[in-house]
C-alpha cells in the first residue's frame, strides 16, 4: 500500500483491511453456524428426509397400516375407497400451508376418497421436544383441520411412506396400489388431477 492510501479519504479502510475484516467475519459466521447447527428445530429440519425411505413407489403395493385417528380407527385394508394419506410434521411450515388445501380436497371428495393425516416426526410443534398427542390436538385446533388426523408415536407409517420431506402425500387406489407419491407444498390442481385419475380408473 502506498503512502497515498494511508492518507486517502478511505483512511484506514483500505482494501487489505477490508479483506481481513471479510475473512474474519466469514470465519466467525462459519464457527457460529457449526455451533448452532445442533439446536433443536434446525437440526430436526435437516433430518426431514430419510434417505432410505424409498420403499414405496408408484405401482407398488401399499404397505398395510391401521391407526386410530381423532375420527376413529382407520384400517387401510378395510377401506373400500381410494385413500389420500398425508404424512406431516407439526413443526413443519410447509405442512401448515398445505392443510387448507388438503382440507378443501377432503370436503370436495367426501365419500369418494378417504383422507387421513398422520404425524411423521419424532419432534413436536416446537420443533425440539418429543411429539405427543397434545401437539397433534394443538395442530388440529390451531389449523382448523377437519379431516381425520392421527398421532403415530412409533412413526411406523412415516417409516413406510415418508419420501422427499414433509408433507409427503400418497394416494392409494382401492386395490391398495400406490398411485401417487409427492412431497412439499403441492397445488390443488396437481392433487385434483391425481385424484380424478384414480377415481376415473375405478369407474
Amino acid at each position: 500500500m502506498s503512502k497515498a492510501a494511508a492518507s486517502s479519504p478511505s483512511g484506514w479502510l483500505n482494501r487489505k483491511t477490508l479483506v481481513y475484516i471479510t475473512v474474519a467475519v466469514v470465519v466467525i459466521a462459519v464457527g457460529l453456524a457449526i455451533h448452532f447447527a445442533n439446536t433443536g428445530a434446525i437440526s430436526n429440519a435437516a433430518q426431514t428426509v430419510n434417505p432410505d425411505a424409498t420403499k414405496i413407489k408408484v405401482g407398488s403395493t401399499a404397505p398395510t397400516f391401521s391407526i386410530t385417528s381423532n375420527a376413529g380407527p382407520f384400517d387401510l385394508a378395510s377401506v373400500n375407497t381410494p385413500v389420500f394419506l398425508e404424512v406431516f410434521a407439526s413443526w413443519c411450515p410447509h405442512c401448515q400451508h398445505e392443510v387448507p388445501i388438503v382440507d378443501a380436497l377432503a370436503k370436495q371428495y367426501a365419500g369418494r376418497v378417504a383422507f387421513i393425516g398422520v404425524s411423521g416426526s419424532p419432534y413436536g410443534i416446537d420443533g425440539s421436544s418429543p411429539e405427543n398427542q397434545a401437539d397433534i390436538n394443538e395442530w388440529v385446533q390451531k389449523l382448523n383441520v377437519t379431516y381425520p388426523i392421527a398421532f403415530d408415536p412409533d412413526l411406523k407409517i412415516a417409516n413406510e411412506y415418508l419420501q422427499g420431506g414433509y408433507p409427503t402425500i400418497v394416494m392409494i387406489d382401492s386395490n391398495k396400489v400406490v398411485r401417487y407419491v409427492n412431497s412439499g407444498e403441492l397445488t390443488p390442481p396437481e392433487l385434483q388431477t391425481a385424484l380424478n385419475g384414480i377415481l376415473s380408473s375405478h369407474s
Binding site: 477490508l18 409427492n182 412439499g184 403441492l186
Partner: protein, 147 residues
C-alpha cells in the same frame, strides 16, 4: 457504456442476493428442511449451510451493490447460482417436487425447469459482472485510485 451496464447488472444481482438472504435469515429451520428435500447433501452439512448461506448471500449482495471486491463477489454468485441450477435440475429429473426455498419461507415455488432457467440466467449475469468488473460507481475503482 459497458461500465454502466455492469453497474445496472450489479445492482440487480446484488438486490436479488440481498432479498434472498434477508428473507431466509431467522428461518434456518425452514431452509434446512428445504435443503434436505433435495436429498443431495449429507445430513451433517445441511444445518450449518442453512445458517451460513443467508448470511453469505447478504454479504455478497452488499458487495455487489457497493462494487466492493466485485470480481470475487460475482464469481461467488456465479458458483452459487450454478450449484442451485444443478441441484434443482437434479431434483426435477429425479421427480422430487420440493419447495426450492430460494426466497425464504413464503416462497412457494417448487422445483421446476423454469426455476433452473432462472438460476442459469443469474449465473450468466454473474459471469458477465465478473468478466467486466467492477463497472461504474464501484468502491473497487475508488480504492484502486488511492493505491
Amino acid at each position: 457504456m459497458i461500465a454502466r451496464i455492469v453497474l445496472v447488472l450489479r445492482l440487480a444481482l446484488g438486490g436479488v442476493f440481498l432479498a434472498a438472504g434477508a428473507l431466509k435469515v431467522g428461518h434456518a429451520d425452514v431452509f434446512a428442511s428445504e435443503i434436505a428435500g433435495f436429498q443431495i447433501l449429507p445430513h451433517p452439512l445441511i444445518a450449518p449451510l442453512a445458517l451460513l448461506l443467508p448470511f453469505l448471500e447478504l454479504m455478497i449482495g452488499a458487495y455487489l451493490v457497493l462494487g466492493l471486491f466485485t470480481r470475487f463477489a460475482a464469481w461467488f454468485a456465479a458458483a452459487e447460482m450454478a450449484l442451485f441450477s444443478v441441484a434443482i435440475a437434479s431434483a426435477v429429473m429425479r421427480g422430487i417436487s420440493t419447495s426450492c426455498g430460494c426466497f425464504g419461507p413464503s416462497d412457494k415455488a417448487t422445483t421446476s425447469w423454469p426455476e433452473v432457467g432462472r438460476d442459469l440466467g443469474l449465473t450468466l449475469v454473474s459471469v458477465i459482472i465478473a468478466w467486466k468488473a467492477p463497472g461504474a460507481l464501484a468502491l473497487d475503482r475508488r480504492m484502486e485510485s488511492h493505491e
